[in-house]
């Protein structure tokens, strides 16, 4: 009978899961986890960023299991992450110590340290490269070898290949060997070509030194963690930034776009966008145990930090014009910053995040992009996709209840009409 559709769930789910498993294997093709990680680094970055878990191998595994669905891969990784203990909080990261692979400013042509265009699609033509159809592992290796050869010659012509230059530029200088050994190359090659540049000053610091940017004290209080603490409004800024950073990439971009297009506080100038590696360090876990019995052995380590690794991030500082009141009651224009930082290479999202950070700090609440409940509740991928997709669940009970109300209201309306008609007829007979 039709009404038993909701029953028999056990068998239906089992059958559905088998079908899902079949969908994954039916083509007979298999892609290695390593291949996913190596060929789709941007997708891996997006999954890790939205999951707030730096784990390239797990992200690739999740993508494989999810058959390439980003939404599903993030879901898997978030659910896994939520069961992990979080024993340490890293030291505050100073982004000016980033090893930049890319660093641009839309505000100034010449910035201290120089602009580094790095690898970007910004100035590429978005034409499908049909040659890639015929690409094989061999042709990729060939191309790789060829490019290295050309670069080596260019470097030598420019006199950059000499030993003393290499030393001057640090141990991580791009090793241009013409070997075909990818494994060995991975060891000798720096991750980013910008590593030799070392610490680059922040463009925002220049504006600050000119008295053009609002001054704030550096705040190193332990940030709030939206995954460990209740979301209570108004939220601290650290929580807002965290929720934006792990928000749905396209969701954050859409709201950031609204913010600069007309439902927000105007058009920023990107003072600086940088992408590169930042180093993560934690304090000695026993640093606080000053009265420990084994004091001596820890004594040397007390106060020292442990380097736990480096992760790639994209950081954006956007400059917005603001009006401030002067002491004499008059008004003047100055600048303030919107801040964005996302895991991996996510430039559009990082810029949109900086727009939203600025909009959310504003006192004025004319636009939804300035309303933290509107923005923060809705950019989270797990929550948005979860609630939207729950509409697929049966709602028989609530719908039956609504049906009962609607019928009652309709009956009342019909009764009123028939009363009115009787009344009309009464009028006529009089």
């Amino acid at each position: 009978m039709a009404y038993v559709a909701v029953r028999g769930g056990q068998e239906a789910i089992e059958a559905s899961l088998s079908l899902l498993a079949w969908e994954r294997v039916k083509s007979g093709a298999c892609v290695e986890i390593k291949d996913i990680a190596d060929t789709f680094p941007d997708l891996i970055d997006q999954v890790m960023g939205e999951s707030s878990l730096y784990a390239p191998e797990l992200a690739a595994l999740a993508l494989k299991q999810a058959q390439g669905s980003c939404e599903e891969a993030v879901f898997l990784l978030r659910a896994f992450r939520s069961t992990l203990e979080r024993p340490y909080i890293s030291r505050a990261v100073e982004a000016d110590a980033m090893q930049c692979a890319r660093r641009i400013s839309a505000a100034f042509k010449d910035i201290p340290g120089g602009q580094i265009l790095g690898a970007t699609r910004d100035y590429s033509h978005r034409l499908i490269d049909f040659n890639l159809r015929r690409e094989t592992s061999e042709t990729v290796r060939e191309l790789r070898k060829e490019m290295k050869h050309i670069w080596k010659e260019e470097w030598e012509e420019a006199g950059l290949g000499k030993e003393d230059d290499k030393q001057a530029m640090g141990k991580n200088t791009l090793e241009i060997s013409e070997s075909d050994d990818a494994e060995a190359d991975a060891e000798t090659e720096p991750l980013f070509s910008g590593e030799r540049l070392g610490r680059l000053p922040k463009v925002a610091d220049y504006l600050r030194s000119q008295g053009l940017l609002a001054q704030y004290d550096s705040d190193d209080t332990t940030p709030s963690d939206a995954t460990m603490e209740p979301l209570v409004f108004p939220t601290p800024r650290s929580m807002r930034l965290q929720i934006l950073a792990r928000g749905m990439t396209q969701g954050v971009i859409a709201l950031g776009y609204a913010g600069i297009r007309g439902f927000g506080l105007g058009h920023p100038t990107v003072a600086e966008l940088r992408y590169g590696n930042i180093e993560i360090a934690i304090d000695h876990p026993l640093g606080a145990h000053e009265n420990s019995a084994e004091k001596d052995s820890y004594q040397a380590d007390k106060g020292s930090a442990y380097y736990v690794g480096a992760i790639p991030v994209t950081e954006v500082e956007g400059v917005f014009e603001i009006e401030v009141e002067k002491a004499d009651g008059g008004k003047e224009f100055t600048f303030d910053l919107g801040y964005g930082m996302v895991m991996g290479h996510g430039e559009t999202k990082a810029i949109a995040m900086s727009v939203l950070d600025f909009c959310l700090r504003s006192e004025d609440k004319r636009f939804p992009t300035q309303d933290e409940e509107f923005v923060l509740y809705h950019v989270d991928g797990i929550e948005a996709t979860g609630f939207i997709s729950h509409l697929k669940l049966p709602h028989y009970v609530t719908f039956q209840s609504k049906l009962s109300s609607v019928r009652k209201a309709k009956d009342l309306a019909n009764e009123d009409k028939s009363h009115a008609r009787e009344g009309e007829q009464d009028d006529k007979t009089v």
Binding site: Y3, Q10, A79, P230, L231, F387, S389
Partner: protein, 281 residues
Amino acid sequence: MTKQYNFAFFDEASKREIRRAIIKGIAVPGYQVPFASREMPIGRGWGTGGLQITLAIIGKRDVLKVIDQGCDESVNAVNIKKLIHATTDVEITEETKRASIIQSRHRIPEHPLEENQIMVLQVPTPEPLRHFEPREAATRVLHAQADYTGAWLNLFDQIVCFGTTTTGADHPVKVNQRYVMAPSPIPRFDNLKLHQSPNLTLFGAGREKKIYAVPPYTTVEPLDFKDHPFAVEDFRGKQCTICGASGVYLDETVDEESGKTLYRCNDTAFCTQQAALKGLI
């Protein structure tokens, strides 16, 4: 699958935090306690609030019943049960009487609950004033000031427009004469079951990150007006075509062959039990 998860999925610190929120909820009946809702392996909006409560309170000796739309075998109930069972190995039952924890979406079972049972309801929208005021910070103030104008106005509007309140499920209730609470989308029929019930009822909203509670023997009154008293869904003159029960919440279905409207118990476990008692199956 290799087991890499703790008993009842969560790490113990997470369970402890959820239990603290539950205890606070019990201490202040009907008050929505914010908590750091964890990400779950099932979808947000698919019962993660109820699931987090169940996982935080469940012990090895508990007996669990999970229903969705009144049915133990509904796809989502099966899915939730499967996850809890996979991480706890607790006994699963369909018999309301035998369960120590009953997690449910949209229904409270027909069989009356007892003191040793905990009812866990999955909540999509915990805020009864949300339609009136979209901002969380503002509704928290309204609750603090016991300003429930919005909830009353909502009902009043409906009466003015339609001559009757048109709330479906989730008709707002006042708990312990203080907090107005969303009873989760249980039908109005089930609202009355919350009043002075001997069991503890816990409400979990995963996506909205709230936990609240109705402790045993608490006064729970649906909001209504003297001249428009609260009314439950109307099933007068109708009975279950399977077990013959009346005075229960019924599902409406159409017989494909005759085109006639038929009714049957929404609570399938209750229906099966009644039918067995009457020797019908």
